[in-house]
Amino acid sequence: MDSKRIAVPDRSACAACGSCMDVCPRKAISVFRGSYAVVDDRRCVGCGMCSRVCPAGVILMEVRP
């Protein structure tokens, strides 16, 4: 069953530092070609760890569409 929430990074503001990728327990978030973070929505369980660690605070936890 899909989680209620999902991580949504702001691509234009992401610095691609990889902090989110490092803490994700499900390997659901990665840095795409050194440019910005992307989330695999099938793996993301909405735990919010990436959002808490993102230094720029540009990963929002949103209700899964």
Partner: protein, 206 residues
């Protein structure tokens, strides 16, 4: 800030030890500061060679240091960065300023190598405070070699102080948001990704 533990420990999570080694070694022998060039070259190898920010993402000793002390040990207050600090104008301006300072180091080294300047055995913190550092240099190399080491150590120590300040105040790896090397390699990666995409589109059009 509540400490956030990584999903799994890897060897690169201990690279913060290299940061400690670098600054400790440079304290006793300034020539170790030349190792600082690794932090300039490796991110570029990842960006130009592989089109990734692999260095920032895993192998940056400073990033690991900030994660360890700010995140794992919980020294970070965890506040939000102001919008201007994470915006592109500041990030690009800081990158240009930082590399201008690096260019100045190379120019000064060049002058000394050509006999037009003299070696000063000081470490300059935050581009203004000159701290005598003569104990770390016993001679034995060309003056320009020592001069470059003193200046590079100054730049590394200055950026470390700024990084630690924002680590304490904001989130642990807030330095990574405006890190000049990180901004530069992200630009390289974005350019590389978009040009490869265009090439692929060209292939499909054939």
């Amino acid at each position: 800030m509540k400490s956030v533990r990584s999903a799994k420990r890897h060897w690169y999570h201990y690279l913060w030890l290299y940061s400690l080694f670098f600054f400790a070694a440079g304290f006793f022998n300034i020539l170790f500061a030349w190792l600082g060039l690794v932090s300039f070259l490796l991110p570029l190898v990842f960006a130009f060679g592989f089109g990734t920010k692999g260095f920032c993402n895993r192998y940056c000793d400073r990033g690991q240091f900030l994660r360890m002390f700010g995140g794992q040990l919980g020294l970070s207050r965890g506040g939000s960065m102001p919008a201007w600090m994470k915006g592109k104008p500041f990030r690009y301006a800081f990158m240009v300023f930082f590399f201008a300072m690096f260019g100045n180091i190379i120019y000064t080294t060049w002058l000394i190598a050509h006999g037009a300047g003299s070696l000063s055995e000081v470490v300059t913190i935050l581009w203004s405070v000159r701290v005598p550092w003569q104990w770390a240099y016993a001679g034995g190399v060309e003056p320009w070699v020592a001069s470059f080491a003193f200046q590079l150590y100054s730049l590394m120590l200055t950026s470390e102080i700024i990084a630690l300040a924002t680590m304490l105040w904001f989130r642990p790896r807030s330095w990574c948001v405006y890190c000049p090397m990180g901004t530069l390699t992200q630009l390289v990666c974005k350019r590389k990704a978009s040009s490869e995409e265009k090439m692929q589109e060209g292939d499909f059009a054939k």
